[in-house]
């Protein structure tokens, strides 16, 4: 006897969540409980509210997730409008995260999205630990590296050096460039993390200085001469800001002059922007494809309703269509998702001395470090209020600050100085105090 109950909004999703199957995830428990838990308890963070982020929010909201948060530090620009479809002309200038959240909530009933208009580094680690899955829609290596370090920082290893499942924070990462893209699943401790496979990224194109300075041959050389050499000569001290139209126009004018001098054609304002900002054109369809793949993986990871991508999907739509899955292997010596950089200390070492040591440590090279231990701020470099509050810890022995345990995990954030480049980073440290009872040789077997 059929009654007039309205069809379930999740009629289609229910088929995957309520029915048992044989090609499913390892801990899949089909049933209404799963569907309801997904709605009530599953929390997903979307990092980035741009080309990928907009698509991700929509896809996740329409895939049964009701608790989403999104973080993005940018404001909407006109050039975003061809693909960041949640934004309209009248939104230009407003924060992406806020507008994106608002628009998706308007269209999908029942979903709650909390926007965060700030940098990812501005949130402390606790913020990120709240989420079940973090979905990345980022456009830079540095940002990915940072979030990867955060997610991997939660990972703990047991005494046999096996990763503990309850501390794994899965991430789904998508990236696009023109007609190409990738989607990958990162489960810290199981799959390679972002750092494990950092060699996947080709080095940035850099023109030799002598070409720029003496024998330019094409428009890009003239532009980079103006951008990298002439700017400093004329504006010494003032940083070049690629988002400042006056700066960009200055570079363009200088590039034109240089091109005329050498008889080179092809310098245009648009090329100038492209070269200076390293712009690769973005297309909506690639973003849609990659985000959809990421959202699907997020659903599968959260619910177990099917097996997951293992672990890297590449997509190329230039000539025909090519997708390929590669199973990359974790680097067991990875500084980020491994058991942590091993640091042995005397119990007398003060926090200040420890912070100074980090700068010299060959595997860390971290300056201006802030230290947290099990959620407690031992010392924070910023903001001034916190710095003042934690300053008194600097003269105390680290051993005491760590509740006198023989060994434990510490998290340090600061500026990493590697290969002449500075970037903000987070690292996990395994601190072992020398000469304490209970620290046997076996415990040190893991090594850094």
């Amino acid at each position: 006897m059929a009654d007039a109950a309205p069809p379930s909004k999740s009629r289609d999703l229910d088929k995957l969540l309520l029915r048992p199957g044989n090609l499913v995830g390892p801990s899949f428990e089909p049933g209404v409980q799963l569907r309801d838990d997904l709605q009530e308890y599953a929390k997903v963070l979307v990092v980035g509210a741009g080309g990928l982020g907009c698509e991700l929010l929509k896809d996740l909201a329409l895939s049964g997730f009701k608790n989403l948060e999104v973080i993005d530090m940018d404001r909407i620009e006109v050039t975003n409008l061809n693909r960041q479809f949640l934004f309209r002309l009248e939104d230009v200038g407003k924060p992406k995260a806020e507008v994106a959240a608002k628009r998706v909530m308007e269209r999908v009933s029942g979903v709650n999205i909390v926007p965060h208009f700030c940098r990812i580094e501005d949130k402390d680690i606790e913020f990120y630990s709240d989420f079940n899955i973090i979905a990345l829609g980022l456009d830079s290596i540095e940002a990915r590296s940072y979030i990867n370090a955060v997610a991997c920082s939660f990972l703990e290893y047991d005494s046999d050096d096996n990763p503990r499942e309850e501390t794994m924070k899965p991430m789904v990462d998508g990236g696009t460039e023109g007609f190409k893209g990738h989607a990958r699943v990162i489960v810290p401790g199981v799959t390679p993390c972002f750092e494990c496979t950092i060699w996947l990224f080709p080095p940035q194109v850099k023109f030799p200085l002598c070409t720029l300075a003496e024998t330019p041959r094409n428009a890009a050389h003239c532009i980079e001469y103006a951008h990298l050499i002439k700017w400093d000569e004329v504006h010494s001290g003032k940083a070049f800001d690629p988002d400042n139209p006056d700066h960009m126009k200055w570079v363009y004018d200088e590039a034109v002059k240089r091109a005329e001098l050498f008889g080179i054609q092809g310098v245009t304002y648009s090329l100038t922007q492209g070269v200076v900002k390293n712009i690769i054109p973005a297309i909506a369809s690639t973003n849609a494809i990659i985000s959809a793949a990421c959202a699907l993986e997020t659903l599968k990871i959260a619910s177990g309703c099917s097996k997951t991508l293992s672990n890297y999907l590449t997509y190329n739509g230039v000539e025909g269509l090519h997708t390929k899955v590669t199973e990359f292997v974790k680097d067991k010596d990875c500084l980020v998702c491994g058991p942590g950089v091993l640091v042995e200390l005397d119990t007398t070492v003060t926090l200040q001395k420890f912070i100074d040591m980090l700068e010299e440590h060959p595997k860390l090279l971290m300056s201006k470090a802030s230290i947290t231990y099990r959620g407690k701020n031992l010392y924070m470099q910023a903001p001034p209020v916190l710095e003042e509050m934690t300053r008194s810890n600097l003269s105390l022995p680290l051993y005491d600050l760590m509740d006198k345990v023989p060994k434990d995990i510490l998290h340090v954030t600061g500026t990493i100085n590697k290969d002449n480049k500075k970037s903000s980073g987070l690292r996990k440290l395994r601190v072992i105090f020398k000469g304490i009872d209970g620290v046997t040789d076996m415990d040190m077997a893991g090594g850094a």
Partner: protein, 394 residues
């Protein structure tokens, strides 16, 4: 699908199918013929003609002395000049032929190395790295060869602009081109003095322009011959055609009906037994099977809760029947996959639909803009482990 396909093919309307079904789906283009001039491939060899220099390029190279004393000048001679001169020297001392055996190629590179007077001569390093361009066979690629011998290149009054230009190209290759396509005209960046580089660019641009003018003339003559207005193809179109001549692509798609009645057996068999892609091709078969099922039973397997076991067994029978129709007797789909297809119950998941929609829309853009090469074959999406596959079933 078959009916719509026939109608669109009749009316010459481009058709693209997109389907989303549980964790699978497919995309298939159906167009009689789609010619692409601006194919813009990712990696394509530059057109330097180092294996077949024309008189002006030779002349330019001849006027430059490789043995110049000034070390700065020595290391700023572009590798194009180096290779043209060294190749010519070789030809003179080897009875008119370029290096062809492994031994000869190695020797040629040694000769280049011997001319370096310092370790930091990037131009010579570039010459050594690029020497393979000297050894490359002359003439056009087999892909282009296929296009010019195509029956459509025998043009008539109803031939498309593309084929008219191909006909002109064919004539050019057989005559003024000396077996080569028109010169593309651009050169890659290379270590060089600005002066040499800019002059070299002008030489290439001049020949490219000259080749274009010849082809343009031939195009206009052919148009006249087939009774069309000789100016009906714009200059810009012909110019673009010349620049992209080496990269032309012609895509043809069989009718869905033909694919259904006669799918490529070897292709199916290859993938059904492949460890990675058996799921994707299994889904292809099952997508056809559920349609047959729906035609017989008025619903999709698993569409309603209850009676799952019966649906599974019916779907299995339908799938086996389909495989037999294809002549794939003996090949089977796994029980797990058949169960999974019933589990889907014709559900449409947003993420899967978004993925399929993204792929299909990308292809639509390629078809409409006639830029980049559309996919050939039937794309079958595998949302379980993402080992999707493009099946060439015709």
């Amino acid at each position: 699908m078959v009916k719509l396909d026939r109608i669109c093919r009749e009316a010459n309307v481009m058709l693209i199918f997109a389907r989303s079904y549980g964790l699978t789906g497919l995309v298939r283009i159906s167009v009689k013929e789609h010619a692409v001039i601006e194919s813009k491939p990712d990696h394509f060899l530059d057109d330097l003609r180092l294996n077949n220099p024309w008189p002006e390029l030779r002349g330019f190279a001849e006027a430059i002395d490789l043995n110049v004393q000034d070390p700065v000048a020595h290391k700023h001679i572009p590798y194009v000049v180096i290779l043209v001169k060294m190749a010519d020297e070789w030809i003179k001392s080897h009875g008119g032929s370029l290096p062809s055996t492994r031994e000869e190629k190695r020797e040629f590179k040694e000769l280049l190395k011997a001319r370096m007077v310092a370790m930091d001569e990037d131009n010579y390093k570039e010459a050594i790295d690029a020497s393979f361009k000297v050894f490359a066979p002359r003439g056009i690629s087999s892909d282009l060869q296929q296009i010019i011998i195509d029956s459509c290149a025998e043009v008539a009054s109803n031939s498309s602009d593309f084929w008219v230009m191909v006909a002109a190209l064919k004539e050019f290759i057989a005559n003024e081109g000396g077996g080569e396509a028109p010169l593309e005209g651009s050169i890659p960046d290379m270590t060089s003095s600005t002066e040499h580089y800019v002059n070299l660019q002008k030489i290439y641009q001049a020949k490219s322009e000259a080749d274009f003018l010849v082809i343009e003339k031939r195009v206009r003559n052919i148009l006249k011959k087939i009774g069309r207005d000789p100016n009906s193809i714009p200059k810009a179109t012909i110019k673009s055609f010349c620049k992209n001549a080496r990269k032309l692509k012609v895509c043809r798609y069989r009718l869905i009906e033909d694919e259904y009645n006669n799918p490529s057996l070897p292709e199916l068999q290859k993938y059904l037994t492949d460890e990675d892609y058996s799921i994707a091709v299994g889904f292809y078969i099952l997508l056809r099977a559920v349609d047959r099922y729906a035609a017989n039973f008025n619903s999709f397997p698993g569409q309603f809760d209850g009676g799952m076991d019966e649906d599974i067994s019916r779907l299995k029978t339908t799938a086996v029947g389909l495989l037999n129709d294809f002549g794939c007797n003996g090949l089977t789909l796994t029980e797990d996959l058949i169960n999974e297809m019933c589990r889907f119950g014709a559900a449409e998941l947003h993420a899967v639909a978004a993925f399929i929609g993204g792929i299909a829309s990308q292809e639509v853009i390629k078809l409409i803009t006639k830029q980049f090469v559309p996919m050939s074959g039937t794309y079958v999406f595998n949302g379980i482990d993402h080992k999707s596959q493009l099946l060439s079933l015709y």
